[in-house]
Subunit: 200 residues, 2 copies
């Protein structure tokens, strides 16, 4: 039994979503078949009109309604003196989930990774330099991934911003909250011990 061509096409698109394999895409396609035509049309329109409705914030590169500042850059209560540099929108959401950081962001759009052909020209490095040079910016937190490319990108950015009168920092390395030492990897344990905190 083969899917009709139109359903096959739909399955191909669904398969490109993160975390969706062939089986999952087929299951989704069969479920979508049960939707009524109004719902399908609206879903289809929501997808097709995305390039016209959603863009990136000109100040930070986060998702925003087309041509507008994002939710955070347009919030006067956010602290303009702190700028947190992340690679992707998902990292931005992760930091927001921490509910601690109240400054603003700069979404780089990836990291420098010569092996994947990313030399940095597609990243928002110029925008970062511009934002970091603003007189209100006091601290730049480089919250990039702590893997090889992330650390290399952070080192590159640190050098780039070294001449500016801003403080550079990065999130602490250590044991995750609620972690059991038995299951932590060696690099994490080494970082947690070398950065150990005084108990007062």
């Amino acid at each position: 039994m083969k899917f009709p061509a139109a359903l096959d096409e739909l399955t191909e698109y669904l398969k490109q979503l993160p975390g969706v394999g062939r089986r999952g895409a087929e299951r989704m396609a069969l479920a979508i078949l049960e939707w009524d035509s109004g719902q399908l049309r609206d879903f289809g329109t929501a997808l097709a009109s995305l390039p016209e409705t959603v863009g990136t914030c000109p100040q930070c590169g986060a998702v925003a309604a087309k041509g507008q500042l994002c939710d955070i850059c347009s919030d006067p209560k956010r602290d303009v003196s702190q700028l947190c540099v992340v690679e992707t929108m998902s990292q931005l959401f992760a930091v927001e989930k921490g509910n601690y950081f109240r400054g603003r962001y700069l979404v780089l759009g990836g990291r420098i990774s010569p092996l994947d052909g990313e030399d940095g020209s597609n990243l928002r490095i110029d925008l970062l330099r511009e934002r970091a040079a603003l007189p209100e910016t006091r601290e730049v937190i480089l919250a990039l991934s702590s893997d090889v490319e992330g650390r290399a990108t952070a080192a590159f950015l640190a050098e780039l911003l070294a001449g500016l009168p801003v403080k550079l920092s990065r999130p602490a390395l250590g044991l995750p909250a609620g972690a059991n030492l038995s299951y932590a990897d060696g690099a994490t344990i080494a970082a947690a011990f070398s950065n150990r905190m005084d108990m007062k």
Copy 2:
């Protein structure tokens, strides 16, 4: 940080897909943002045009190109004497995966479940009666779920077809292939023992 309204709307649709929660839908929406506009338009069109391109086979209720017989009903090599009744398309695919059954299908479209308000009026029961009454149909295999509603529906259908000169059967109950007795539930073990097979 809130999603722009258009992205929120997209997330709502993605959340309705089987196996997708809020987090997964947000992750998918962010990934979809990276697609180029041509791809988004084609995906959108594939969805919106589904009601015009995909329908159900008039002979069996399986998915098929609009107005056409499905792949199986139009295959002259399938055995017309056997009719396998399943609840859903996914069950049909599951039976096909077994690579054993070479007859044709009847996709009921659900099962009788008074608690969920399904009294059978939305199911293809008339079509089943019609197909079962055809002179070429020799055997009807009721391959419904073996839970309460599935068994009740199978019993109802068996009664409905009792007057017709067709053999009625259902798939065997027993241990799944490769199963370990230690992990089988009591009902499965009881079925496997009461239907035990002679070793020749």
